[in-house]
Symmetry: C2
Subunit: 338 residues, 2 copies
């Protein structure tokens, strides 16, 4: 029961190993009856083709790599969950490849790892997918890939939400509350998404005739601590904001903590909103108004597309990059008690 190989299945089904191979790979040119017999034999023997052998003989490794750099745990977990759903459905495995996006040697290292592990496909998350040298290396290798971003190279897919529009919606919600003095804690400068979100904020402000006060925009890095810093800066201005928009939830939570420390009541004294609808946004007090981004769905789709390319499945009708819908989540940090 421990080491069933293709010959065993072939023998039991009374066919050649090639036929078994055909059946296991869903290739055409196998009669219905034969296919059924092979499948039955495989099931009875509990046969699973060896990945190593497949990888060596074919060119496929049945491995999809995930390239990431120190994302928030919640984001990482959601990405992985989505990818795994798609992978499992197609009998692919997921291999993790953390890396450091600022490391100049990273693209070369990734390229080498690609060659060694013979990864069939790659999923790349920000900010790694915003490193031109890396993307060039990936393109050069010719590996099918998808980025969780709004822009892929010629041979890749991109899945994303319209981050600019999402931040515009969020900002307009705050403006709709009557705020005119709105602080903004920007995201990590290496993330393209951070720039998009900032654009959205500025567009909304301008559209509503509010203008951008440079003193109301501070640099953050998507982490909790930078949210604390940013909020402290904003709140120490001579004319402090009445609301703070953070480019993600972690920073918004940091701002929230600072506000509490200062004895400010949320949302009465200060409105704080975040972005991502992370678990944290629901777990702080008061819960944060934020924008939901269907990360798991996006990841699943990214993996599904890469796998579709691999298996030569028909390309989806819409081969263009895919934009997912976002959704405002209004909570007490902007609305008060309900």
């Amino acid at each position: 029961m421990s080491k069933v190989i293709i010959d065993d299945v072939a023998a039991r089904a009374g066919v050649s190993i090639k036929t078994v191979s055909r059946v296991m790979n869903n290739e055409p040119n196998v009669s219905e009856r034969t296919r059924d017999r092979v499948l039955a034999a495989a099931r009875e023997l509990n046969y699973r083709p060896s990945l190593s052998a497949r990888g060596l003989a074919g060119s496929r490794s049945y491995l999809i790599g995930l390239l990431y750099d120190n994302p928030s745990p919640a984001y990482l977990a959601e990405i992985q969950a989505g990818l795994l759903e798609a992978c499992e459905a197609s009998h692919y495995s997921l291999a993790l490849h953390p890396c450091r996006h600022e490391d100049p040697g990273m693209p070369a290292a990734v390229s080498a790892a690609l060659a060694q592990a013979r990864l069939d496909g790659l999923i790349i998350t920000p900010p790694v997918c915003n490193v031109p040298a890396l993307m060039a290396a990936v393109e050069e290798r010719g590996v099918p890939y998808a980025v969780i971003s709004d822009e892929a190279g010629p041979s890749g897919f991109a899945v994303t939400i319209d981050e600019s529009a999402a931040m515009r919606d969020l900002t307009e919600h705050v403006i709709g509350l009557g705020h005119t003095r709105i602080g903004f804690i920007a995201g990590h400068p290496d993330h393209k998404g951070a720039a998009r979100r900032r654009d959205g904020f500025e567009t909304a402000m301008r559209t509503h005739g509010l203008g951008i006060d440079p003193a109301m925009v501070v640099q953050g890095y998507f982490d909790f601590e930078s949210g604390r810093h940013g909020a402290r800066e904003l709140l120490s201005r001579s004319n402090p904001p009445t609301s703070i928009i953070a480019a993600n939830d972690d920073m918004a939570a940091g701002a929230l903590q600072v506000a509490h420390d200062k004895g400010l009541h949320i949302p009465t004294d200060l409105v704080i909103v975040g972005f991502d609808d992370s678990p944290l946004s629901r777990q702080v007090w008061p819960p944060l108004t934020t924008v939901r981004q269907p990360v798991a769905d996006m990841a699943r789709e990214a993996a599904a597309r890469v796998i579709a390319r691999l298996t030569g499945a028909a390309e989806p009708d819409n081969p263009a990059d895919l934009a997912f819908p976002h959704e405002l989540r209004l909570r007490q940090s902007s609305l008060g008690d309900t």
Copy 2:
């Protein structure tokens, strides 16, 4: 540059492929000079042995599997980070295997996956490692493994902290603050660690002559929502607690939110403490007193031991299960402003 194989290296170094193989695997019986030449050739050619070929020829796949069931994202991320450190150091890859611990078919499915992917080793986290049928299946397959728990089967390693002692320390901290009416939100009943933590709580209470009031202990499931439920229950008692100990941080954060909703001031009106020192414990307000568990270190050690078994490295001096130190993290949820 894209497809360097062992023959290329052998040719360049002027040796046979077997010698190259020896060098790449750190086998003995290669002269210093030959080894150097081979290494030089490999480096110049940027040679990476193919994992598939290695897996097929040898018995090793250079893949370590991580078996887990829906843990908190923070825990998962920390576990993965620790495992990856150890894996990378030894050129192993990590394959993710989420599963559902209550699924009766899970052990069989895992066993099949083990056979197919030829995983060399396994790391198993709670509550999966608390499923006897799964552990039996793993033992039967004879795969080296480690559990993040306090008890492994005959062929496995266990890495853990002394959860009972840790919870005892935490409870004693609260008792030391002068509390006598202490509520406890227990962890998931399927986690052995949850039982240990509960033991620690009860031991501390008894040791200090406080006894266990059944009305002060409620069942939780390690998730935020169950922390909210538990806290609501406890605080609705006719004689509510003056402090709440939750078996993990997520539940403590839930309790915190409920307390805030009720207008209670923390820690003046109610002390709340958690367990795990998760990022969340630092990101809520006020920050939670908790117990640090060096999860990443534990995971790294778990993977390192499994890999050591695989590579036939000398077993560490202390082959027994490994207990890591825990550490109290005192924060404002029990101490007030400093």
